[in-house]
Homo-oligomer: 307 residues x 2
């Protein structure tokens, strides 16, 4: 039940209304690995890092069953660096710095040892690189999940549309769903996106939860109302990691199991925002995860007996 | 199992990105009555109308079990009139015209025939008028639910705070909860509001659903993702009417039954936005309501079996 995860491993510097960090570890594949490795081993990582990436993080991930054979290490360049400032609502942010560094020459290669993986998580990356990974696989995974962002819709829409024909599940947020389809109604946007290729669509709405669309079914997973959202960085990737981890663990790609996977992803994301960067994910226990999932059950369950 | 409902009966002129109406019937108590009368009879209305209000609407409400003894009819003045324009997101709107007309002299009186009602719905009105109704009741209702708005927080906060000590359930939207408490986090805002008096708090989040807070419990009711939100006018009042109608019908004021009542309210609100004004509510069948409630069950139910 192996899972290949492709994405960035990076440094972030983050400002929120509640605090500020200098360079801490980040990157989509880092968050996916921390979340998914609670549910499935191995997580087979494909990424690129520079000479400055923390060995202690690599060791920690290895201990958690994350394989790093597909992580290219560039000796004489720094890792990808992103810096941003969140607004009060935590749903919007300004990018302050984007230093591509090693990411400018990322040429993802699937190690022979990863071939045959059942599940593929394509983190947010240039669409051509995401496709390059799919093209290298000798056997099509049972489920391909892809994340993307508005930036690629602006500059690489044709490539993105090609990918949409190759994947099973697309992960976007509400504004990205609207941009991709020119539809304001998320229901209409979802219908158009499902016509573009993916059989499943997850629309993330931050503090307002997430929607799963499939054929003419829809599922609404709430977000847990939190006292404080300390730092939303990585929450979307952590959601993806929890979702994918549950799917890979159960090997069940039915709509019903995806609902459960979304709840698991939402639970993982709710931890992520409690501290800066992946700090909260690094200290999580299995018992805490189960308790948080139960919080989601309590949050939405109700009895109907109208007659 | 009678329910007193206090609020406006009015005319609205509405512009949305999807269309425009001239003067159609509206007002908080009108929407509450249309929604609640599906579940409970009588609905005992307290309001004020001018010489221009449609007799056909009054007849229709009467047929539905709405008592109008508490509705004052002013012979030589027009009814309250509001006109507004919604933005694309349908969560924000600009008020174009507010003509108080008869509402300027509203002096709500509880008819003797309404005394002993078990449930009281205080629609959005000047806090002093809401209190005046409570003060006239010879027997305290089993449950008092109050709606309000940011306008009263701006100009009558002291009166509003007095009311909060007298009621059981407060209904506000997310921005009003924030304004009332100076807290951005809805969880923190909820805790402060529960300290101000009400034992239950419902925070409406429009297309993002609604939250119910009680002690340290929280329930998240989603909104049904809709293809089109045609006109959100009255959706909050319709929600209140469905909520209150279910509570009054079941006479059960437990937290668990309030969850169900919120789902019923959400279902009613999802109908309201499908047409201009109360048009969709006027044509609803019992079967449609039950089907819509079932849609909410399908929307949120999931199985958890993590082990």
């Amino acid at each position: 039940m192996s899972l290949i995860s492709v994405g960035t491993m990076a440094f972030d510097a983050i400002e929120t209304p509640f605090g500020k960090t200098d360079r801490i570890v980040g990157g989509s594949a880092t968050y996916v690995a921390y979340a998914a490795s609670n549910f499935v081993k191995p997580v087979q990582q494909i990424s690129i890092i520079g000479n400055d990436f923390d060995q202690s993080i690599l060791d920690d991930l290895t201990r958690r069953g994350v394989q790093l054979d597909g992580v290219e290490r560039v000796p004489n360049q720094p890792s990808f660096f992103w810096s941003g400032r969140y607004h009060m609502d935590m749903n919007t942010r300004d990018t302050l710095v984007t230093d591509l560094n090693v990411l400018a020459n990322f040429n993802p290669q699937v190690p022979a040892s990863y071939q045959g993986a059942e599940f593929l998580m394509l983190g947010n990356l240039m669409p051509k690189l995401q496709k390059q990974v799919i093209d290298q696989l000798t056997q099509r995974p049972k489920l391909i999940v892809m994340d993307t962002m508005n930036f690629w819709m602006d500059i690489a829409m044709d490539d993105l549309l090609v990918n949409l024909r190759m994947i099973d599940v697309l992960l976007v947020n509400d504004s990205e769903a609207r941009q991709l389809t020119n539809e304001f109604s998320l229901v209409k946007a979802a219908r158009k996106i499902l016509d573009m290729g993916p059989r499943f669509l997850i629309i993330k709405k931050g503090e307002h939860g997430a929607l799963l669309f499939h054929e003419n079914h829809v599922f609404y997973a709430p977000a847990l109302p939190l006292e404080d959202v300390f730092d939303p960085t990585g929450a979307g990737d952590t959601f993806a990691g929890g979702f994918m981890g549950h799917i890979a663990k159960t090997r069940d790609i039915s709509f019903d199991n995806m609902k459960t996977a979304i709840i698991v992803g939402s639970a993982m994301a709710s931890f992520c925002v409690e501290k800066f960067g992946p700090a909260r994910l690094q200290e999580l226990s299995k018992a805490e995860i189960e308790e948080r999932v139960q919080d989601f059950v309590d949050l939405v369950q109700f009895d109907i007996d109208l007659v």
